[in-house]
């Protein structure tokens, strides 16, 4: 029998889990605020190559720059885009810190597009304000973050997968249990404060391409943080507001209409015509996209073939060099050339992502979850439509607040029996002689998600889906891993299962339709503000069961006028009469 003395324990003041966008910023910000604090950045792969950010970034979608947009205007716009269900204080906090963060990154060496006189070259893409700031050399951003991690002497631990969070007798978080992905050593990291920055849950559904890891999101983002937060007792919010995004058909990345839009490209139907009425990146826009795909006018395309040679070269430079080098090769392989052919698009599988919709671990404007000492930032946390800059801003907020929290706390006590039982649970697939390989388990699970959970949501299908997913919990004890890498996959698959169950539970709970395609509930086709103008919080109840409850929307800090309040409804398609 293992004893706690056999397990390596590392003590640290602030533990940051996830080395993508928000995580490095949280770690750097914690050290900048208190250079004497010990700060560890834990990453299951390698900080140099992890997260959505390392799949390429070409610009900021939501830069709030004086002279182009105001924080109030931005907050209104996100409130509308989210059909009113927002924690406005959280959005406003982002908006007010947005420009400061741009200047900070600029100062660190990130290139933002400027005009010939050195002013930011902001592009108008959205309805009310002007928020798009291209970042022509976005591929450098990871290197720049890494330089800052070095300069601030952050402890970087690569290839450790965090699996369960720990808490003390008072219910405050006290660190995590992690698995070394190369040798399957289970360790404990005891921390006074923890910042979760594990990204979107982008591996819940199966992509239309059929590739298990060909997801819209970086496939490593499989909901580790969502699952850990749930099990430690934190509330999650808006999980029924799925993330579904437009993408290039069969290519695991976005179409980047934001890059091509200011240059004259657009999303078109098979006739080469625009069809999207909605001005907001929202579920309403995705509904229009989905309807066009289903109608006789589909499929949908990215249209660039009307642009000038010089413009196409510029787009290729940004999209194929910065965004994703594989994209150019993908087009070559298909014989696609922007000059001569429209490029087929499709919609992504479902996921949770606060960067694009609103689903995630609940946090307030201080980055605090509902568990003491536990913070959350980036795509995983519930601040809606944050995108990359929001991840940086909330990374900074969480890093600063976590290091302050840690300062007032002594080293927490550890729960020995919990740690020992978890170690046994985590390693079990490696001890078995035979069983279900993790990728088979995951394929089956994600196929169920596509078959039963993706919109249009139907009670009968959801019931079946939920039952089948619960049945799969019984398969866990048959999971079999041949080596530490497969063990990592087995753990990830269990996190995916948690996320799938959460998606189904939250969707069933909200008995109305809202956010266009994201929560298109066939049995409750209307939006019902009387009963459902609220957040849906999902949590683990006293009997360790998954439960949901309503949380009222906090009073707005920025009031909307009557016309703005109904703007979301007006986004419905208005065809020529």
């Amino acid at each position: 029998m293992t004893q706690l003395s056999d397990i390596k324990i590392k003590d640290i003041d602030v533990l940051v889990i996830g080395g993508g966008t928000a995580g490095p910023m949280a770690a750097i910000s914690a050290k900048e605020k208190d250079p004497n604090a010990s700060v560890m950045l834990l990453e299951k792969a390698n900080v140099k190559r992890s997260g959505a950010i390392s799949m390429g970034m070409d610009g900021l979608n939501n830069a709030v720059i004086p002279g182009h947009a105001t924080p109030e205007q931005y907050t209104k716009e996100i409130t509308i885009a989210n059909d009113g269900i927002v924690l406005q204080k959280g959005v406003l906090e982002y908006a007010e810190r947005s420009f400061g963060m741009i200047q900070k990154l600029d100062n660190w060496g990130v290139y933002f597009q400027k005009d010939e006189t050195g002013e930011y070259d902001v592009k108008k893409v959205h309805h009310l304000g002007t928020y798009v700031l291209p970042m022509p050399e976005g591929h450098n951003i990871k290197k720049i973050l890494y330089r800052r991690l070095r300069r601030n002497r952050v402890v970087v631990e690569n290839r450790y997968q965090a699996i369960r969070l720990l808490k003390d007798d008072d219910g405050a978080v006290s660190g995590c249990i992690a698995l070394a992905t190369r040798d399957a050593e289970v360790i404990v990291i005891r921390a006074k404060a923890v910042v979760l920055c594990t990204g979107a849950a982008g591996r819940i559904g199966l992509p239309a391409s059929g590739y298990l890891y060909g997801t819209y999101e970086n496939p490593t983002n499989c909901g580790d943080g969502h699952s850990m937060a749930y099990h430690v007792g934190a509330e999650l919010s808006g999980l029924e507001c799925y993330q579904i995004n437009p993408l290039l058909k069969d290519y695991n990345g976005p179409a980047c209409a934001y890059v091509t839009g200011p240059l004259g490209g657009y999303t078109a139907n098979a006739n080469g015509d625009r069809f999207i009425e909605c001005d907001y990146w929202s579920g309403q826009m995705m509904m229009e996209f989905y309807n066009e795909l289903q109608s006789g006018n589909g499929p949908v395309f990215l249209k660039l073939d009307h642009l000038a040679e010089e413009t196409i070269e510029e787009i290729e430079q940004v999209l194929h060099t910065n965004e994703r080098p594989s994209r150019g090769r993908f087009h070559d392989g298909r014989g696609n050339n922007y000059r001569t052919k429209m490029v087929e698009m499709h919609i992504s599988e479902i996921g949770f992502c606060a960067g694009h919709s609103a689903s995630g671990v609940w946090v307030n404007e201080k980055g605090e979850t509902t568990v003491s000492g536990l913070y959350g930032a980036g795509d995983m946390a519930s601040i809606p439509h944050s995108y990359m800059l929001g991840a940086f801003v909330y990374g900074e907020i969480c890093g600063q607040n976590a290091v302050e929290f840690a300062k007032n706390r002594s080293l927490p006590a550890l729960d020995d029996s919990f740690i020992l039982s978890q170690k046994e649970r985590i390693l079990a697939p490696l001890q078995r002689e035979d069983g279900i390989p993790p990728h088979q388990f995951e394929y089956k699970l994600r196929r169920l998600v596509n078959d039963y959970l993706q919109p249009p949501k139907i009670t009968k299908k959801m019931d079946i889906g939920l039952q089948r997913l619960k049945d799969m919990e019984r398969d866990i004890e048959f999971l079999y891993a041949r080596d530490p890498h497969e063990l990592l996959r087995a753990n990830e698959a269990q996190h995916v299962l948690d996320c799938a169950l959460m998606a189904a539970q939250a969707s069933m709970y909200r008995q109305e339709s809202r956010w266009g395609l994201y929560h298109h509930f066939v049995d409750h086709p209307e939006t019902n503000n009387e009963d459902w103008f609220c957040h849906v919080q999902l949590y683990k109840d006293d009997n360790d069961q998954m439960a949901c409850k309503k949380r009222p929307v906090d009073p707005y800090v920025i009031e909307l006028d009557e016309e703005e309040k109904t703007a979301y409804q007006k986004m419905r398609i208005q065809k020529v009469s």
Binding site: N46, T117, V154, G264, F275, V576
Partner: protein
């Protein structure tokens, strides 16, 4: 040999002493994974390795390290015999937004390598250093267009009135279109009356991107005297130029441009129809109403949306709801 406490750095330091250049090269590749700042010393050592491939590898990883920690070495490296090292150093220096680097950067402008010169100018540009002015003005006459383009950048970022004559001359007469375009774009820092003539004549430039930039600048500066030139430009043979002209007509408030904008409402390029109807909305004039009403029936939803918006703004009181 320096002792390194970090085990990875200690191992790299040892391998960099190996007689086999292949082993030294792989050691350099491992440098990127080190989180220890002292790794920079080993990088500097590798930059002056006797083997070409080792130096190339070292040049490749320069931007993984904080340029502030190796500024002197980077400036030295600008004169390295190896072109790869020179280029990588110049690029890293461009990332360094540190005014303390300016004297060294200016001193290095003696280089006769065009790429290096352009990189130094690019990094000086971001620093907005007044001392760079005379060098930038001199380099406006350099034979390499890349150097001239960055010299324009330095002057544009400085936003000084006294540099306008030089920038205007470049905008008019430089042989390279991208250099002319950048100069035309830089002129927006001036008062409109000081640059209007140059911008208006740039509407007739041979290259469409220069024409677009000139029209964009005229719109941003709201040069009212450019009305007739902008209205002419709406007949440009490139729709991209037509689109910019339509937008600028709205921005400068040229009501006499309404018929020209109206003619765009039937253009097959939807981007042009969209911009034209938006410009009619900006002008908010009754004369635009017939065109706006036609655009309400467009098959493109963006055109229809903007037409509804334009109608709201243009219709006389009491007739808005139709």
């Amino acid at each position: 040999m320096t002792e390194y406490s970090d085990p990875l750095l200690a191992s790299i330091a040892e391998r960099l002493q190996d007689s086999d250049p292949g082993i030294r090269r792989v050691a350099v590749m491992d440098l990127v994974d080190s989180v220890d700042e002292d790794g920079v010393n080993l990088l500097l050592q590798a930059l002056s390795d006797e083997d070409d491939l080792v130096r190339l590898e070292a040049a490749r990883v320069i931007d993984e390290f904080d340029p502030a920690d190796m500024m002197e070495a980077l400036v030295d490296a600008l004169n390295a015999a190896d072109r790869n090292v020179r280029n990588a150093a110049a690029k890293a220096l461009a990332d360094l937004k540190d005014p303390d680097a300016a004297p060294a950067l200016i001193a290095a402008l003696k280089s006769d390598d065009a790429f290096v010169l352009a990189s130094i100018l690019r990094s000086l540009k971001q620093l907005c250093i007044k001392d760079a002015r005379p060098y930038a003005i001199e380099l406006l006459g350099h034979e390499d267009p890349g150097v001239r383009r960055e010299a324009v950048g330095v002057l544009g970022y400085l936003q000084e009135i006294e540099n306008l004559p030089q920038l205007k001359a470049v905008a008019k007469a430089d042989a390279d279109a991208e250099v002319r375009r950048s100069a035309v774009g830089a002129l927006v820092y001036a008062a409109p009356e000081k640059v209007a003539d140059t911008l208006i004549s740039a509407i007739s430039d041979d290259h469409w991107q220069v024409r677009c930039e000139a029209i964009r600048s005229l719109g941003r500066l709201k040069v009212y005297d450019a009305r007739s030139a902008l209205i002419d430009a709406i007949n440009d043979k490139r729709w991209q130029v037509q689109e910019k002209a339509a937008e600028a007509i709205g921005m400068v408030g040229a009501v006499e441009g309404i018929p020209a904008l109206g003619a765009c409402i039937d253009n097959p390029i939807s981007n042009l129809r969209k911009t034209a109807v938006a410009a009619l909305g900006e002008l908010a004039h009754e004369d635009g109403l017939p065109y706006i009403r036609r655009a309400l029936e467009d098959n493109d939803p963006d055109v229809r949306k903007l037409a509804r918006w334009a109608l709201e703004r243009s219709a006389p009181q009491g007739t808005k709801t139709n």
